[in-house]
Amino acid sequence: MRIKIIAALTTALALAWPATAQAHVSGHDHDSIRYASIKSCPIKGGGARPCGSWRLVMHSGARSTLPDAQTLALEADGSTNRYVPAPIAVSGNGRRVAYFTKKGRLAVRTLGGGVRLLAEDALPKRAQYEVTLVLSDDGARLAASPRGDKPAGARIFDTATGEQVGVLPPEATVAGFSGDGDELLATVQADESVTELVAYSETGEELNRTTPPQVIAANLPGALAADGRTAAILVAGAKALTVTYDMAGDQLGERRRVKLPAGHVHMLDWTGDHELTAHLLSEPGGKTRMTIVRIDTETGTVKLRDRYTILPDTFVFAACGG
């Protein structure tokens, strides 16, 4: 999940759909989640805080809520922090969502399916806002990273069984899953102020470790392809370009100029052998607008996949990926 704080002052769109399986509000079997959002409420004397339930906004435009999800983050001692939301993640395909339940358990919910609760001791004790959740594109894997002052290694879970399949070293910061979801891309702060790029298998085995050239290092987090060795970055803006990088051979691929709609890179995923999907975030006229494009890394062709405006009363949102 990449979280984005939005200053939103507009009034609430107070429409809470019935929860759980009724997420299929539109009746389409293939409806999926665009993003999860939590409302912003003003604080007396200035500022804002998250309030209400997590809302799931679907591609069809329908909305539902996650009534069993923790909204305000709990501190490590169990008390509530009223100013920070608990984490949430939406899978790339928008079919699964990971979160803390109100009872403090990590959970993964499948649209139209059930909820898989992870073990009570799935994570070391941390404030919930110190935990970062990332789901793979297909939602089959969850990476839960306890960061904060005492970062622990990211735990990788099978979301179907709830079993832990691997742990990354504590120094690795998860950037995301590979296109096929069975490897992870991570960054490591190495000696001499250098960032290393590391590919791990889902079991935590180090596959490729390299100190990438500046053009990669300056545009991370980037994305890892299904082969577990090809990383890509996207530079947005007037001189937008994609660059691929073979981590195993420490070889830069071609710099390919692309024409992108407005926005900065919010998320980047490999969604095919030669295809990147980019979430671009822009703020035209005070709105928060997401534009999702598919980029052919061979030809540089850019196709619009989706475009939407985030609910204006949003405090924070988590978008689906790919």
Partner: protein
Amino acid sequence: MRLSSAAAALLAPAVIGALGLGSVPAQADTSATAARTAVRAAWIKTCYDEKREESWPCGTWRLLLRDGRQVAVPAAAARGVDGKGRRTRQPATFAISADGRVLAYERARDHRLVVQRADGGPATELPASARPRGVGSDELALTLSPSGHRVLIDYTDDPERLRTKIITVATGGITTLPAVYSTQGFSADGDQVLATRTMSDNTTAMYALRPGGGLLKRTPPTIVVNGGTYALDAGGTTVGFFTASQDKPPRARTYDLASGELSAGADLPLPADVAPYLARWSGGRLTTTITTDDRSGATVVRVLTVDPANGAAEQADKYTINSGYHAYVLAGE
């Protein structure tokens, strides 16, 4: 320039005895004398206003000489001015060449930028345009070349508007650099300027710029870009720099702008938490300055020369800037 911490500002100013008032008389310039009279640093006292609960620089800038003496510079303004010419509570601009021979400062009576030899003599006015209208003292960043014959001025108010100036002191001749460059200091001979520039792909390119024309450009590895302090050699190709690590000693490295070659690097005989500062070339060795604040609010300054090939280091100088300072400036800063 470094400002003291707020805590240090609350301490009673140290008693400074036997201050020289005025400049050192001119004398036979033997190299031994020259070394003794070289300026290590300059500092200015702090005063505290209890009613306003703030401190400001007071008294005059004082030079710390290599031979241990202190010399006041009453001609230099203590407090700066804002863009409208009103006196502020911030220190005025003050700079010392790396060789400790030349000063640059704001003249007390009119805040004109001037350059003067540290051992006295007349001050040379920099062209009036060195300080464009509306630029306050704290929006000027002034650096002298290692031997003090050139001045580089960056304007921090609005980088898009004001170009960096390089002024040859003797002639008053000015060349400017486009605002896209971030300057990193002069080459050892003062004839070139090391600069970085952020490119459209978010990488940082490094340049050796020859004022008036000519440049050498390269996109170095991240390890070079993340170094904190750089020195360009007199040839204008080799960049010496230092890197810092979490649990390991700092390292000295070199990077060749012409060939792109990065040296293997050598550990310095220093603890892991020490951050080398003020890299410069002196002969084939790299010089760095390490500053440590002690509990009393004084600052201990150590100057090391380092062989970048093997990390062998020698202490070239060590001195203390006593507590009670509001700000200090090191030679070459």
